[in-house]
Symmetry: C2
Subunit: 317 residues, 2 copies
């Protein structure tokens, strides 16, 4: 499976969340086992009392998706984590993946440490780290003047996001996060929801500083399609400006944007929901634009894992 052919294994850090990040990880694991996926987590507070009450509460799907994407036996792991208990009793209808994370939380002393521990007991190529152990919430000032709170509400907002904030402000980074960025041979932002996955990670204390100080190539992987609500009508430049506005200029060395054709049938389906291709709109000073066919043309206009990992790994060496 490993494609490095005896060369030093690349150490890659990818910050994001959700389906997009999983697609990248799925491709990257064929090149290296030194992958750290840094994901946003809404911590549950961590006391065992809370955890017990929460037997059955859904932990964020992003964590499960990332663990499955990094698995050496992805199909088997996906089936294991998706398994739903058929019987009566407290677990009826719940997934094994959730139960696994709940039990890990119970023995690790909280949901966030459980995420790190899960990478250790499962056969995964790399690890998944929560960006912070703090119990944080996001809020967004919209162009309408309104402020919305919480990841779900931000993602649903029909008005453009002007400014994303995290509360409490500047939460400290989770164990291993800053260190992984420091040691990375390549740092990747995204793919993922611009505000709630990519920028949310960058609002954690020490993350931007560690990225800025690193000499490794820093790559932003733009989404294939805009997300109605979070990025309605955004061009590529809008995405980059949003990141720079929340961090600083010069954070990224490369931007990968899809130039592959998306079937018109798919485009029409997305358009009906207000979602359109993210297009490269001219030169952005200081950032090298990589236009490449990185799209998977199946049911959804999403990133193709292999194409994406191939380009990333070429930029990384």
């Amino acid at each position: 499976m490993h494609k490095s052919n005896g060369r030093k294994e690349l150490s890659i850090v990818a910050l994001g969340g959700g389906t997009g990040l999983s697609a990248l990880l799925r491709g990257l694991k064929k090149y290296t086992s030194k992958i750290t996926a840094i994901v946003t987590v809404s911590d549950d507070g961590g006391s065992s009392g809370t955890l017990r009450r929460e037997l059955g509460v859904l932990p964020p799907g992003d964590i499960r998706n990332c663990l499955v994407a990094l698995s050496e036996e992805e199909n088997l792991m996906a089936r294991l984590f998706q398994y739903r208990f058929p019987s009566r009793g407290t677990l009826a209808g719940h997934s094994f993946g959730n139960l696994f994370l709940t039990v890990m939380s119970s023995i690790s002393g909280g949901f966030s440490p459980a995420v790190a521990s899960s990478s250790e007991v499962l056969a995964v190529r790399g690890k998944v780290l929560p960006v912070t152990l703090k119990s944080v919430t996001l809020s967004a000032e919209l162009s309408s003047g309104r402020t919305v709170k919480g990841e779900t509400n931000i993602a649903k907002s029909r008005s453009k996001v002007q400014k994303l904030s995290i509360h409490p402000a500047l939460p400290s980074a989770g164990p291993g996060v800053v260190d992984a960025i420091k040691k990375a041979d390549c740092i990747i932002l995204g793919p993922g929801s611009l505000y709630t996955s990519v920028i949310a990670n960058l609002l954690v204390k020490g993350v931007v500083q560690a990225i800025r100080r690193s000499k490794a190539p820093k790559i932003y992987i733009a989404n294939i399609m805009t997300q109605p609500g979070e990025t309605s009508g955004y061009t590529l430049r809008d995405h980059i400006e949003a990141i720079e506005k929340h961090t600083q200029k010069g954070l990224m060395d490369y931007v990968i944007v899809n130039s592959g054709k998306i079937p018109s049938k798919l485009l029409r389906r997305y358009a009906r929901k207000g979602s359109y291709p993210v297009v490269a709109d001219g030169i952005i000073y200081g950032i090298r634009l990589i236009e490449a066919d990185v799209v998977s043309r199946r049911e959804y206009a999403r990133h193709n894992s292999e194409k994406l990992a191939d380009i990333v790994c070429k930029l990384a060496v």
Copy 2:
């Protein structure tokens, strides 16, 4: 953790079951990740209907113990597998390890394939294979003339075992078993219960033939203490003769027997249960006797993982 220092990783096969095999595996994983533990399993028949009815039935502890012993994060994995559900409902009081194997059984189509699959999704150095996928039972002719059926009854019998049989006779070996033996750089029998763990494995079709044909060193690790019932009063020679009687002469190249001192307090406690040290009683033609201090002197007179693995790996290269 890995001690091979760039040399070719040794591929080691160990046949047995129970606590003894776990102690060996725990030591071996520091030397190599190419470990195959072949263990006896009483298959449950495999249909998903049966499995559902069995949500809650204890799968053999040997499998769980071997998976935990091979884990890269043994403490964490042990705590995970030992975790007991505190809540009400169908799972109350059951361990996570059993639930894990039950769910794996459900998605893999039976308990035995689930064992092999478990090695793939968990971070274990090596794999655990059931010696056969057939639903087998053991029976023993005792020196008293009586015949007893089933692993538990054989282990409890107060009369010496004359002949162990497996039913149905010569069950075919499970996937990967014969192949693992063929490719091994070292083949180890035990430690474990002489009849129900060691010899039981050797009654499976193709196992003895594969061992005999292999040019790898073949090592029998004798138990530290006799087991009342199975091996009451057995000397080392009795153990070897029992194995040869059920297979053939010349199957083993080496025998490792403990020569380390066992504290008299421990000896007295064992003696009260009719258990005594297994002693080397003279030369056994064709087999090289390795007398070494391989005992752990804590609560029980059991093998010390590190001492045992150290000797095995020296014999293997």
